[in-house]
């Protein structure tokens, strides 16, 4: 059965394979090989038999074809209400068809399925909340991505991402040494301004074990320093693990369930090793979704919970502001109109809608809600891996229009976005449309707003 050297049904478990994929600029050869990739229909059939359970089968069967899901999808709205963007149509014409044909599909069909699964759905799950039967097409697309991945039909960047997780237990090639070095470097860099600032690595029995996104050490190391400063100001007893520190999971976007398990288990192992009271994750949506919400299931933990209580960064911020660990200088509150981007992964799918509003009540004088908001908010336009796939850049950019309009309608020029994906999408939106919108994580805003206790100020300022 024909398989390519780069594009095949194998998982990326060696550095040689990973490097070969990376060397193939924009996945040119990879996508060329994909055109020749045979579908292993026996395997596909066996996978369906083993994993397509009654929930998904029932969803596919009972869909009343009522079209109530159409308007719930930002991609349908952003593409001039193209009927081919109706969520029900998208899943029926892909997964529905594969099931109907009992896996007997060909290469061309699978490439269409791949393009649909990654460029016409971000797995934001909004449609699930508009279907009278409670059919969650986002979940079905997640499942479909798994089928695609197992057959080798996955976007190039995500194939690389899964390899990173399998080899480095991080979404980027950041080794444990690189990571620990970055922590030391950032602590040194910031200690002049913040006396006694430390980033304790592998401290056992701390109150908090902090995990983050590999992009932070790789591209935005200041984010780690900002984390450290805020924990320092709040007087937290915290640590980071030298291994199992990346909370993110591109494998979840790719449908590589084996890599998902490897990744979350690396974090759970760190929890078990360092025995913190709880884990706090960074300002990232999918990282929280994968490690805290879905991860325990991949790892086979029967109560569906992480080894220690795990919370999103916004939960820690709300708690620190509520209990007075962090105090906001009233004169430094955000005066201008400001809005908040509800991330699908921890708001709709994680229940943190009120926590985010609580934070806004402490830090903003003119907070403006987007419409719709909270669990019914639209995807930023770049979720589910959409931001990172070159092949679908035009489709991603078209999809950004809905979020853009939502933001413009608030009249606010500042968007608080405690999610890496949303943050990227809004940054790219500004690059394209140039509306003068600014976007920010919470950390840099908080650092400029919090009161610094006298004993924590640098000597020169005393």
């Amino acid at each position: 059965m024909a398989e390519g050297k780069l594009c095949n049904r194998k998982t990326v478990d060696t550095k040689e394979y990973l490097n070969a994929l990376l060397a193939d600029k924009s996945g040119k050869q990879y996508y060329k090989e994909m055109e020749e990739l045979d579908v292993d229909t026996d395997k596909l059939q066996a996978t369906l038999k083993a994993s397509l359970k009654s929930r998904l089968r029932t969803w596919l069967e009972i869909c009343a074809h009522c079209g109530m899901c159409a308007d719930s999808c930002f991609l349908y709205l952003a593409n001039n209400r193209d009927p081919k963007q109706v969520p029900s149509y998208k899943i029926q014409s892909t997964l529905g068809e594969i099931v109907k044909r009992k896996g007997k599909v060909d290469n061309k069909f699978m490439r269409m399925v791949m393009d649909t699964a990654w460029s016409k759905c971000t797995c934001c799950n909004r449609c699930a909340s508009f279907c009278p039967f409670g059919i969650d097409m986002g979940i079905m697309f997640g499942y479909l991505r798994g089928l695609c991945f197992s057959q080798g039909f996955v976007p190039w960047e995500l194939k690389i991402g899964t390899g990173m997780h399998r080899i480095f237990q991080a979404q980027m090639d950041v080794t444990s040494e690189d990571w620990v070095d970055t922590c030391e470097w950032m602590a040194e860099e910031y200690e002049d301004d913040w006396p006694d600032l430390a980033i304790p690595v592998d401290k056992e029995n701390a109150d908090i074990m902090y995990t983050l996104n590999a992009r932070e050490p790789k591209h935005y190391p200041d984010d780690i320093a900002e984390t450290a400063v805020l924990f320092h100001l709040a007087g937290e007893n915290w640590t980071v693990p030298s291994e199992g520190w990346d909370q993110t999971n591109l494998a979840m976007f790719a449908g590589d369930w084996g890599a998902c398990k490897i990744q979350v288990e690396s974090v759970y192992k760190a929890m078990n090793r360092l025995k913190p009271k709880r884990m706090v994750g960074t300002e990232c949506g999918h990282a929280h979704r994968s490690t805290v919400i879905e991860g325990p299931y991949w790892a086979g933990i029967k109560d569906g919970k992480t080894p220690v209580e795990s919370i999103h960064y916004v939960e820690w911020v709300a708690e620190a502001l509520r209990t007075g660990k962090l105090k906001i200088d009233p004169s430094k509150k955000i005066k201008e109109p400001v809005t908040y981007q509800d991330s699908c992964n921890y708001i709709r799918n994680g229940g943190l809608k009120n926590i985010s509003r609580e934070i806004m009540s402490y830090i903003a004088e003119d907070f403006r809600e987007m419409t719709p908001n909270r669990e019914h908010n639209f995807c930023c336009g770049g979720g589910g891996g959409f931001n990172g796939i070159g092949r679908y850049r035009a489709q991603r950019n078209a999809g950004l229009q809905i979020k853009r309009q939502q933001i413009l309608d608030t009249g606010a020029k500042l968007v608080i976005s405690p999610c890496h994906n949303c943050w990227d999408a809004i940054r790219d939106m500004e690059e394209i449309f140039k509306d003068g919108i600014r976007w920010s994580f919470l950390k840099p805003l908080l650092i400029n707003m919090v009161e610094v206790p006298e004993h924590l100020k640098p000597e020169g300022e005393l």
């Binding site: 079209g67 009927p83 909340s129 508009f130 039967f133 029967k302 569906g304 229940g351 019914h376």
Partner: protein
């Protein structure tokens, strides 16, 4: 013929209907898988029950959910249609008379003019559902012949019942067709997507548990459907 259709045939149709639906529910529940579905159905049960109840109630009441409220026209149409479908045959005098005669019990009944009106409303709603399928591009693309066949099977007993009641042309002919079409409908329900009469509840309960247990239900009041 009449004796057969309202006797053994009716028993067979109701038997297939009830047993079929019970089997559908059993198959559904047995096919749930905590790890594959990623929902701990048997742990954190109280959150699951709370989520399930909220999910069903929001969607079984007209305008009970954000989704229903966002589409008032369709919502009204759907609820009128389903109300007519359920209410009319259950409480029709003639049906209850037959029930009492054959099986020794009956339900509370509605007057014949009320039933007449409800039947007409149900049929009109069905016509609008068809028009909606044809008129709206986002519904048209989803629609298959199967959808029309099922709608036909569903409304046939209403149309024929109406014609029989008003004795249009031949009462006996329409009565027989009415009984046969009703029995066909009952038999079809477990085997087609009309099985949503029970699977609606299964699916809503499942998603309610998913959100109640895993996706945020432990973090606050729960999902505002």
């Amino acid at each position: 013929m009449y004796e057969f259709l309202t006797g053994p045939a009716a028993i067979a149709a109701f038997g297939i209907f009830f047993i079929g639906l019970i089997v559908r529910v059993i198959i559904y529940i047995r096919g749930l898988h905590w790890q594959m579905d990623r929902v701990t159905y048997t742990v954190n049960v109280s959150y699951g029950i709370k989520g399930a109840i909220r999910s069903v109630i929001a969607w079984i009441l007209p305008f009970g959910s954000v989704g229903w409220r966002s589409k008032p026209g369709i919502t009204l149409l759907f609820f009128i249609f389903h109300f007519g479908l359920l209410f009319t045959p259950l409480f029709l005098q003639a049906h209850n008379f037959l029930l009492k005669e054959r099986w020794g019990f009956s339900l509370w009944t509605i007057s014949d003019p009320t039933a007449d009106l409800l039947t007409i409303i149900t049929l009109v709603a069905a016509v609008f559902l068809v028009l909606r399928r044809i008129a709206l591009a986002e519904v048209r693309i989803l629609t298959t012949a199967y959808d029309y066949i099922l709608l036909g099977i569903t409304v046939a007993p209403f149309l024929t019942g109406l014609l029989a009641f008003h004795q249009v042309w031949d009462y006996h002919f329409w009565l027989m067709v009415h009984i046969i079409s009703g029995e066909i409908m009952l038999i079809c329900i477990p085997f087609t997507k009309l099985s949503h009469v029970v699977l609606f509840f299964c699916s809503r309960i499942q998603l309610g548990m998913d959100f109640g247990i895993k996706r945020g239900g432990m973090k606050g009041k729960g999902f505002a459907w």
